[in-house]
Amino acid sequence: MATVLKVDNVRKSFSLGLIPKKKEILKGISFEVAQGEIFGYLGPNGAGKTTTLKCVLGLIYPDAGTIELWGMPHLALKAKARVGFLPENPYFYDYLTGEEFLDFYGQLFSLSRTDRRERVAGLLKLVDMTRAAGLQLRKYSRGMLQRIGLAQALINNPSFVALDEPMGGLDPLGRKEFRDIIVRLRDEGKTVLLSSHILQDIEMICTRVAIVLEGRVVSQGALRDLISQKILFTEVEVAGLPESELHSFGDCLSASSGRTLLKIHREDLVDGALSHILSRRGKVLSLIPRTQTLEDLFVDIVKKE
């Protein structure tokens, strides 16, 4: 797969405060995003995710290192013309209506009036904002701003889309719709860089991830390689048996209304536990083998670091 974005050893420091004190935010960030993938860029608050994205988009200048988009310097207008960006907590011109706002960005890409009209209508439909097209942005809720923000990021039909915490401020339904749109973008052949600390979203849709911590990429690769497929434990929900009969198989996490949640740590004990429950005329309500999640991996890495 061709490389779309290459970030190589990027460093950035800021001098803030009345008596300027230099603080290194990025300490040599390197990663690559390949054509057609959804790349998750994750880390805790203050890890340097937004700073990295701002470097990529030319909003701040790195002190050292190089950033390339399709092999071109990232500040080249030719490269920027193929990029879409949704910043974290997007702030827009609140005196414009949703339609005017998208039209304004369309003009920056020198789209013709007809193209803009078509593109704006299509995007408003995509983000489900057609009903609010004539409303000034100052009357939009946070979720609506997020939606119109995504639409502006797509106005130029970009090949590469960078999204900074795109699901913040959205309700569960909105988050699902956003995830679906992102997957659709990938299916259309676009490349997506998704920066977030909502691990479930990343785990659901990303193919590869980089975990950034205190300005360094501490782990990166394909999700399936990073997350162990080994079963960590099995959760069995049992009914019709007293808790005392299950202790020998594992930990009883909760017991109420005749139901017990049993956590079996050893895989070889699962069959024995099931046979015992059935022989004692108990009922197995559910059985869930738990493998490592991105959250487990993330917590492990953060603790280690």
């Binding site: 800021f14 207008l77 827009f92 005196y95 304004f104 502006q152």
Partner: protein, 254 residues
């Protein structure tokens, strides 16, 4: 093309600013009040109307340029609207120039509105159209252009309040720097004079755009003087805008 897009958006933003209409209202009132002032004055009443009218246009237009111009770039950074804008294929100089032309366009319309009130008032007193007044107004506009450039320069690196203070100082110094030139003429050649000369070259001389007295009193206006003022305004505006672009190009948007 992109400069035009930014300029029209800036224009849209500026004309929705209430402060603009407040200043326009005061300017209109001030021009109309010149009629009352003329009644209380002994002498040529029309001259008083012209004098006060042109001074009102000059003062309130400059205030418009300062109060709106000083917030233009800063607001984009402070409200973080710059994030989406500068991630688009847009050179930073295009952004600064777009902001500049957007405000210049706004000021042009405001000046046109103020001039209309003023010219109508003069017409009601003289029953004739006086085109030389438009010449004075045109040079007031060149002064606005320069003040706009200065306001945008200050807005590139400081808060609106500080920028407004800097711009106001620029305006005041600009109208009194001629006294430095007068002083320099009286000085003997030497290092002090050279230093003074350098300082005078650097600070603005907004009196170069002031042809109110000549127009009101019907004095001759040599073409050379007008051409010099025009050239001075163009070069000084270019100098200030270049500084603004250099500063803005180096900025990180946090």
């Amino acid at each position: 093309m992109r400069i035009r897009v930014i300029a029209f958006n800036t224009f849209k933003e500026a004309i929705r600013d209430r402060i603009l209409y407040l200043l326009l209202f005061f300017a209109g009132t001030s021009i109309l009040l010149s009629r009352i002032l003329a009644l209380l004055t002994v002498g040529d009443r029309v001259k008083i109307i012209k004098d006060v009218g042109l001074a009102s246009i000059s003062l309130f237009g400059a205030l418009m340029a300062i109060l709106i111009g000083t917030g233009l770039v800063y607001k984009e950074i402070d409200k973080k609207t710059i994030f989406t804008l500068m991630s688009k294929p847009l050179h930073r100089y295009e952004f600064v120039l777009g902001k500049f032309f957007g405000l210049v366009l706004t000021l042009f319309l405001m000046l046109a509105a103020m001039s209309l009130i003023f010219m109508a008032l003069v017409f009601l007193h003289t029953w004739r159209f006086e085109p030389q007044l438009l010449l004075a107004i045109a040079f007031i506009f060149f002064e606005f252009v320069l003040i706009t450039a200065a306001a945008i320069l200050f807005s590139c690196f400081s808060t609106p309040i500080l920028s407004a203070l800097f711009s106001l100082s620029f305006y005041i110094i600009g109208h009194f720097s001629w006294s430095l030139e007068t002083l320099l003429r009286k000085l003997r050649p030497g290092p002090t004079r050279v230093l003074g000369q350098a300082l005078y070259t650097l600070i603005p001389d907004l009196e170069n755009f002031n042809f109110k007295t000549e127009v009101v009193h019907g004095l001759p206006l040599p073409a050379g003087m007008l051409a010099y003022s025009l050239l001075y305004g163009t070069l000084y505006t270019l100098f200030i805008l270049t500084l603004a672009v250099i500063i803005f190009r180096k900025r990180d948007f946090l």
